[in-house]
Amino acid sequence: MSPLTPPVSSHDHIHGDASAAVTLVEYGDYECPYCGKAHPLVKALQRHFGKRMRFVFRNFPLTQVHQHAEHAAEAAEAAEAAGQFWPMHDVIFEHQAALDDSDLVRYAEGLGLPGAVIVDALAGQKHASRIRQDFLSGVRSGVNGTPSFFINGQKYEGEYDLASMTEAIEAEMTIGHR
């Protein structure tokens, strides 16, 4: 099984503590309905594990299937410059049914960002190369659909529910402490 390639680095969007015992990485598509369903699941895992787990999101937009996925990813990346990646990430996943460019601008403005930041990013595809890098790293790592998760670099192949994922993460923590 392919391990996560490249490993998590400062180049990534990381939510949580560097000292966390477990790193959970998601490859996701902002318009994929199953990523939408996984979003509250990730939140629940974050609440449950607190500082013991950090979360990383990498883009895996299926642009030919989900017409808004690429722009949504651009918008989240654009918000990063203002330190608002995670709030933008959340608001996009919470509004998957409305991801037109005007919606993305509105969400950014709701977070206090100038709408122009989003408009410029979308028009210039400013973050296209980073998004593609994320995507290709996923392909390399054996991602075959979204969402895909990696726990400490190993692809998670279990069920996508709170109990199963909690158990897998707990197991990884136990290994870490041996």
């Binding site: 299926l62 642009t63 390399r140 054996g142 991602v143 659909g145 979204t146 996508y160």
Partner: protein, 234 residues
């Protein structure tokens, strides 16, 4: 788009589900094989074929001579898989092309189905109809699943001389991803560039000079649990 568990019999498992019926499995390529079990392996000359890509156009394997080609045999158009294998390859196409490789999908669906399916999913590579006689090409490659009445999920990377460089058969419900294909294309490219740097050899000889054993066979991903969400998504 309902997320529900497929019945146990359709879940991928280490053994082809239909083999459990207990009927003897015949040689791959015959008409009665229940499940694909032996895809043609690396080092074998890829059988040539000509199949319709649209109602009035055909594609032959020999059309690709001189460049690598990826054959992706898949069970059926319109199968309800959200993290769809072909949708993934569609996004990775430019990487395949970076290695000079072309991708074709092959299933037993007819050309009209392929046209509609490709249009619906915005696929940018040809889908070939292994439709009449049904599954004939899949049988020749050892990947026809007689029990299902369609091709198994199998990948072949064929070099510019028509030699199979890498092959992989996936359990029918498991999307094999694209990492194996990319690794195979890279090993092809590096074999070619090794030879480019040797005096007296040209890159064009790379494929025949390097036996197909350079391909790194990948373990089938049959060890994954029966259902992961993406497999039951639509």
């Amino acid at each position: 788009m309902t997320a529900r568990k497929p019945p146990a019999a359709t879940r991928p498992s280490r053994k082809p589900a239909l083999a459990k019926i207990g009927r003897p499995e015949s040689a791959p390529g015959s008409t009665s094989d229940l499940a694909p079990s032996t895809p043609l392996s690396a080092g074998t000359q890829a059988p040539d074929f000509k199949l319709p890509s649209t109602p009035d156009q055909s594609v032959a394997l020999s059309d690709f001579r001189g460049q690598p080609v990826i054959l992706a045999f898949y069970p059926a158009d319109w199968s309800p898989v959200c993290g769809d294998q072909l949708a993934l390859y569609n996004e990775v196409l430019s990487e395949f092309q970076r290695h000079g490789a072309e991708l074709v999908g092959i299933s037993v669906d007819g050309p009209w189905s392929h046209v509609a399916f490709a249009e619906h999913r915005h696929l940018h590579f040809p889908l070939l109809a292994d439709f009449e006689p049904k599954g004939a090409v899949a049988r020749r490659y050892g990947v026809y699943s007689g029990g299902h009445g369609h091709s198994g999920r199998a990948l072949f990377v064929i070099d510019g001389k028509g030699m199979i460089h890498w092959s992989h058969l996936s359990p029918i419900g498991v999307n094999p991803g694209a990492d194996g294909i990319l690794a195979a294309l890279e090993s092809l490219s590096s074999a070619a560039s090794d030879l480019e740097h040797r005096p007296g050899t040209t890159a064009i000889d790379a494929d025949s000079a390097r036996p197909a054993t350079v391909a790194t066979p990948r373990a089938p991903r049959s060890s994954r649990p029966a259902t992961t969400p993406r497999e039951r998504l639509s």
